[in-house]
């Protein structure tokens, strides 16, 4: 497992340097699938494994997510095979003081807690927030940086959108699985805002500037960094909440945590941390005050200005709390899948008909479309539709998701229909022609209906696949079942109940469909024709 992560991490760094956009975004898919499958199976069948003992004594295995980028952890723009960022330097400091060699393991931000619990790494350092839930379930270090949750709005809206209360009915974006997201969920009930969850901290700001959302709530570190490269938005001076970055370790690693706390205290005392943060231009007056409290052993609240969920919920409480949102997300999944499949069927039939009956030029064009769509990843197609052409056509998230899935599946459907059309026995067609039916009538009255019967089983298969592939559209901020499950799992720190509920809901959607298809097949059962 260790070797797998190491190699994967290396491969990704290289790929990022070649085509950072794709790697950056497809990472979500990798992480989701890996977390869903490996995490769930491991959680159900295995007891937590302490791999620490099996790790080489000289290695200090730490994890982060370069998607967070600078100033936390990012690939060095000059040497993409190297990582830079203040969390990288803190990890190196810790390793040096522990007389060990730092070894970075790339783990997606929302899965760091679970990976630490599994024993993949010893510590997570990636702008990880101190929360009451983490304090209850894990072994966080002392806070080493204080940040403020700040609201960013378009420059022209600076006067009218000063607080969350001003944003009633407006879409407000943030990074999923963060305190900011929890604040937005709370504000949804209090002020009627509409939270939008992103998987990265880049697109919330680009979507803000082009008007897809009306505000972004994120750490001042992230907001200020983005303000240096993106124009058109302003950061409101008032803080919504105050939080802290910590390193997190598994609860069973309390001894190592204590050692790390000592190293961090010494670094606060001798100015090493200040030097690191100054280098990354994030040092401010909040930090000396924080360090003074920490060094004086005064208690530091995880979050102030917002009452975060106090402790981990019991399984039953968590289920009751998240079930409505899972059901709501299931509705999005089923509606999106049905509409996308309807679009795919209509387009697929047109493409197949064109390929069977069309002129050579039409056939060549349609073949090109099918090969283009089948030969490129659906994630790339979704990104192009939503972000790539945003300057030309600003599709809404649901519209882009529907179009992306529909256009992609149309290519696959068309191949099924083409095969089915060609499989209709010639005798049936000749019988229709000899009766004087035109070719159009032959197609619509005889060949098409017979082909539909032949295509039914693979179509059902595709619809069930589409139902699951619809989870990919969460990268376009569409909140469907898998995304909601991921947030559920991140918030409660376990995949067991969320995974089982998610699986049950997917089955509840796909099984009736499969049953219906089987009945139709029986009804349409053909004798040899």
């Amino acid at each position: 497992m260790a070797m797998f992560f190491f190699r994967w991490s290396e491969r990704r760094s290289t790929a990022e340097s070649i085509f950072p956009f794709i790697v950056y975004r497809t990472h979500f898919l990798h992480s989701s699938i890996r977390t869903l499958s490996v995490g769930l199976v491991a959680a159900v069948f295995l007891r937590p494994i302490n791999l620490d003992a099996s790790q080489p004594a000289g290695e200090f295995r730490w994890s982060g997510d370069p998607e967070g980028g600078a100033p936390f952890v990012e690939a060095d723009p000059v040497h993409p095979d190297r990582l830079v960022g203040f969390d990288v330097e803190i990890a190196e400091l810790l390793a040096r003081k522990l007389n060990r060699e730092p070894r970075f393991i790339n783990i997606t931000f929302t899965s760091i807690d679970q990976s630490i619990e599994r024993g993949d790494v010893e510590i997570g350092l990636s702008g990880i927030e101190d929360t009451p839930a983490r304090r209850a379930a894990m072994a966080p270090t002392i806070p080493y940086y204080e940040f403020r949750e700040v609201l960013s709005v378009r420059t022209g809206d600076r006067a009218r959108f000063r607080t969350l209360a001003d944003l009633k009915g407006r879409r407000v974006g943030t990074l999923g699985g963060t305190i900011a997201y929890e604040i937005l969920l709370r504000a949804e009930g209090e002020f009627g805002i509409r939270p939008v969850s992103y998987d990265d901290d880049v697109h919330p700001y680009s979507d803000l500037v082009i008007g897809r959302i009306d505000a972004v709530l994120l750490d001042n570190v992230l907001a200020e960094r983005r303000a240096r490269t993106v124009s058109g938005f302003a950061i409101q001076p008032e803080s919504v909440a105050v939080g802290h970055y910590v390193g997190i370790l598994a609860a069973r690693n309390g001894a190592l945590r204590d050692q790390i706390d000592d190293i961090l205290r010494a670094a606060m005392h001798d100015g090493t941390l200040e030097k690191i943060f100054r280098k990354w231009r994030v040092w401010n007056d909040d930090q000396p005050r924080l360090y003074a409290r920490v060094l004086a052993a005064q208690p530091v609240a995880a979050v102030t200005g917002f009452e975060a969920s106090p402790t981990m919920l019991t399984a039953w409480q968590a289920t009751l709390r998240y079930l409505p949102s899972l059901l709501e997300a299931s509705l999005v999944t089923i509606v999106l899948s049905c509409l996308a499949m309807a679009l795919a069927i209509l387009l697929g039939i047109s493409i197949a008909t064109g390929r069977v009956y069309g002129s050579p030029v039409v056939r060549a064009l349609l073949t090109g479309y099918v090969e283009l769509i089948r030969g490129t990843p659906i994630l790339l197609q979704l990104f192009v539709l939503y972000y790539g052409i945003a300057d030309l056509i600003r599709l809404p998230a649901f519209g882009a998701a529907l179009l992306g899935l529909g256009l992609n599946y149309a290519a696959y459907e068309s191949e099924i229909y083409r095969g089915a059309l060609q499989a209709v026995p010639v005798g049936q067609l000749e019988a229709a022609r000899i009766l004087g039916l035109s070719e159009t009538r032959v197609l619509t009255l005889v060949r098409g209906p017979l082909a539909l019967r032949l295509a039914l089983a693979p179509m059902t298969n595709d619809f069930i696949a589409l139902l699951k592939d619809s989870s990919l559209v969460s990268v376009l901020t569409v909140f469907e079942l898998t995304k909601q499950t991921q947030i559920f799992a991140t918030n409660i720190g376990s995949w067991v109940i969320p995974g089982l509920l998610c699986a049950a809901l997917y089955l509840a959607m796909s099984l009736p469909l499969a049953t219906l298809a089987r009945r139709l097949e029986q009804r349409w059962r053909l004798s040899a024709v």
């Binding site: 026995p425 005798g427 049936q428 000749e430 019988a431 229709a432 022609r433 000899i434 009766l435 004087g436 039916l437 035109s438 009538r441 009255l445 005889v446 209906p449 017979l450 019967r453 349409w524 059962r525 053909l526 004798s527 024709v529």
Partner: protein, 229 residues
């Protein structure tokens, strides 16, 4: 052509360089029932398919009344449209539309090819099915029919568009002796009504019992037998 319904002249058809039809010529007059005979695989079905426009041929001409098919020029869509108003065909394996009921198999073409109102076409279909003794199977699907029933439904479907020339390929293939007798009577009735029939069969007894003339195919040529009824 006066009373001539069908005229074939020097029709040749090659498959992989081998002549299936080696220059066949024959005429069929209006109201005739001609049996096309010969052992299996000799080319009887091919002759019917050439006449029906389902198969192109290499040289020669086929005239169906005033419609001329030329082997050298191929068949234009307009020519085929005109041809199919005059020629009907009952296939050896029936080729009933498997997804449609018996009744709809019969009224489909009158409605969608001839523009007859559906109610009228349905009534006509029921009359045809009754005349052929399969009205009680009107709502069955082809897979539920016996061979004899399927045969009669296929005939009803072909007659529903009222073609003056009806081609039948091995009509007795799936019938027992009793049913063969009934079919012979039916064909005689159709001829009496003024229709022209060409029946391809290797069933000597049946063919000789109903045909006014027998044509025999042998090695790609057609020979006329004498002394038939």
């Amino acid at each position: 052509m006066n009373n001539c319904m069908l005229r074939l002249r020097e029709v040749t058809l090659l498959r992989s360089g081998r002549p299936v039809l080696a220059g066949i010529s024959f005429d069929v007059q209006r109201g005739e029932l001609v049996a096309l005979m010969g052992p299996s695989g000799v080319g009887k079905t091919t002759v019917l398919r050439v006449i029906a426009g389902l198969e192109t041929f290499d040289s020669g001409t086929v005239h169906v009344e005033d419609i001329a098919l030329n082997g050298a020029n191929g068949h234009s869509p307009a020519m085929l449209r005109d041809l199919r108003a005059k020629v009907g065909m009952v296939f050896q394996f029936h080729h009933l539309f498997e997804h449609l009921s018996v009744l709809k198999n019969v009224w489909l073409a009158p409605v969608y090819a001839r523009g007859i109102p559906q109610r009228e076409a349905e009534d006509r279909a029921r009359v045809l099915l009754a005349a052929l003794g399969v009205e009680h199977r009107a709502h069955a699907f082809p897979r539920e029919l016996s061979g004899g029933e399927a045969q009669r439904v296929a005939i009803a479907r072909a007659l529903a568009v009222d073609p003056p020339l009806l081609l039948m390929d091995e009509p007795t293939a799936s019938l027992d002796a009793n049913r063969r007798g009934e079919l012979r009577d039916l064909l005689c009735t159709l001829v009496r009504e003024g229709r022209t029939l060409i029946v391809a069969s290797h069933d000597e007894e049946f063919a000789r019992g109903c045909a006014s003339r027998v044509l025999r195919i042998q090695e790609g040529f057609v020979f006329e037998e004498t002394g038939t009824t």
